[in-house]
Structure formats: structure tokens, C-alpha cells
């Protein structure tokens, strides 16, 4: 499962940048875990501060796009800031055997879990051998 790198130039890559657009918002890439089981792939992404309505997961042309918009205002005036709560953006190229119709997503405690099942024909099948 290869990562689709959005800016083709990787040199001045910084986590706060997506690509040059007219959009003023800044984005960061969320850390993810991807692992494979015999039924498919599971993608787990940390998206703190993203609510369900701010989350956009889509598949188009075999590319999975995760976009999470954080809508959040901390109360009071800041004293010390160690992090900035920016929006999240990341893309992955999906392997062909993933069944895009059956992707299931779950968001809990700021963690998104995506289950990408394999197509039936891509699953390993055991062939029964009959002994005659």
C-alpha cells in the first residue's frame, strides 16, 4: 500500500504544508498504522480534535484521502503552547484488491479506524482435494 505523495517535490517538505493552493489553512499529516489481515487492510489514524462532521474520508481513482478539520477553540488566553491544532490531510494509493464499496470507518477518542476489505476473488481460497 504505497503512499500517494501529494507534492511531487519532497525536498522542502514540512509537516505543516500540503501543497500550494489558495487555501489559507495549514495541514499536517497524521501518524497512521496500516496492517494487513487475511480479510483486508486496516488503517488507524490519530486525528485529535476532529469531530465526525469535520471528517472526510473518500476513495477516488484508487486513492484514499483522509481529511480532518479540527474545530476547536481553547478557552482563555494562551500562556504556553506546545502544539497547534491544525487540520489533517493524507492520501494513500490503494491496492487493486481492496473493495472500495465496503470500506467501513469508525471514529473514537480522536482515532479513526478504517477497515478496507479485500475483494472476494483476492482472498486466498483453499481448494478441497477429494481423494477418490
Amino acid at each position: 500500500m504505497a503512499e500517494k505523495t501529494v507534492p511531487s517535490v519532497q525536498e522542502d517538505w514540512a509537516p505543516g504544508r500540503r501543497e500550494e493552493t489558495r487555501e489559507h489553512d495549514r495541514y499536517i499529516t497524521p501518524p497512521v498504522d496500516i496492517f494487513e489481515t487475511k480479510d483486508g487492510l486496516t488503517v488507524v489514524a490519530d486525528l485529535p480534535g476532529v469531530e465526525q462532521k469535520g471528517l472526510d474520508v473518500r476513495v477516488a481513482d484508487g486513492i484514499l484521502t483522509l481529511q480532518g478539520r479540527t474545530a476547536h477553540l481553547a478557552p482563555g488566553t494562551p500562556i504556553e503552547r506546545e502544539y497547534e491544532l491544525l487540520h489533517f490531510y493524507r492520501q494513500f494509493e490503494l491496492p487493486e484488491e481492496v473493495d472500495a464499496e465496503k470500506i467501513a470507518a469508525e471514529l473514537k477518542h480522536g482515532v479513526l479506524t478504517l477497515r478496507l476489505p479485500k475483494k472476494e476473488k483476492a482472498k486466498p481460497r483453499k481448494i478441497e482435494v477429494s481423494v477418490s
Partner: protein, 151 residues
């Protein structure tokens, strides 16, 4: 007449340095950090933002995927201690991973609070992977309006 107090001087120096360092933050703007990779290095976890208003001090911690039941907060001697555990993914063999960037594990972090707080009335709220701790300022630390009589 005040007596020269070495400890008070040191405290003043520390505060001054703290102030200078926190001031320089917007000028030497680093790449935004959302790094929360405990176990990937000896970095502080969770990252916290401190803010205040007249009544409260707020500590907001970036802690996605933490089991709320494992969270343990305590306030002692002007410091807030956050303990908890971010559970890892169960039963995934190492060969099955394509990417493994989210680290997991137990953490503990102590945050110095800028003012005295009323430890009995601290409240905390965990939502969308963000922990917001509201610490009411103690009576002495709150700003008080001084009435001015005009003659």
C-alpha cells in the same frame, strides 16, 4: 528595607528566562508539532497547551486514543500530573504492518501551573482525543477589582 535573598533572586531569574523563551516562540516559529510518539524517543507526552482566564487555568493535552478509564490526574504543590495509557493494537504481528507510526504505551507528565489553584474543584473533560483540565484559581490568585474613591 528588603534583605537580599538568594532564593528569591534565583526564582526571579528562572521566571525571566522562562518568559524570554516563551516570548521568542512566535518569532522562531517551528514546524507545528503534533508529534505524539511516546516510545519513539524521550519526548514529552502528551503535549500540552496552557491558557487562563480570570477564574480558571486550562490545561489542554493532545492525547488521542487514550483509554479514559486509565487517565489519572492529580494536583499537588502547584503542579498537575497526568497519567494514562494509550493502548496499542492488540494481536497484530510485526510482519502484518505496512506502516507503524502511532506509538503506544503508558505515560506520565507533570505540568507546572503558573498560579495557585483550588485542587478540590478541578474538573476534566476528554473529548475527541483532547483532554481539557479546568483548574479554578484559588481565591488569592484571582484578580480583584480595587474600588477607587473619587473625592
Amino acid at each position: 528595607m528588603s534583605v537580599w535573598d538568594a532564593f528569591a533572586e534565583m526564582d526571579a531569574l528562572r521566571r525571566e528566562l522562562d518568559r524570554r523563551f516563551s516570548e521568542s516562540w512566535p518569532r522562531y516559529r517551528r514546524a507545528p508539532r503534533v508529534a505524539f510518539l511516546p516510545g519513539r524517543g524521550a519526548r514529552q507526552y502528551p503535549l500540552v497547551n496552557l491558557s487562563e482566564d480570570e477564574q480558571n487555568v486550562y490545561v489542554e493535552a493532545l492525547a488521542p486514543g487514550v483509554d479514559p478509564k486509565s487517565l489519572d490526574l492529580s494536583v499537588m504543590q502547584g503542579a498537575l500530573t497526568i497519567k494514562g495509557e494509550k493502548p496499542g493494537l492488540a494481536q497484530v504481528s510485526a510482519e502484518a504492518y505496512h506502516r507503524n507510526e502511532r506509538a503506544a504505551g503508558r505515560f506520565v507528565r507533570t505540568v507546572d501551573l503558573p498560579v495557585e489553584v483550588d485542587a478540590g474543584r478541578v474538573s476534566a473533560d476528554y473529548r475527541n482525543g483532547l483532554l481539557l483540565v479546568t483548574l479554578p484559581k484559588s481565591e488569592a490568585a484571582r484578580p480583584r477589582q480595587v474600588p477607587i474613591s473619587v473625592r
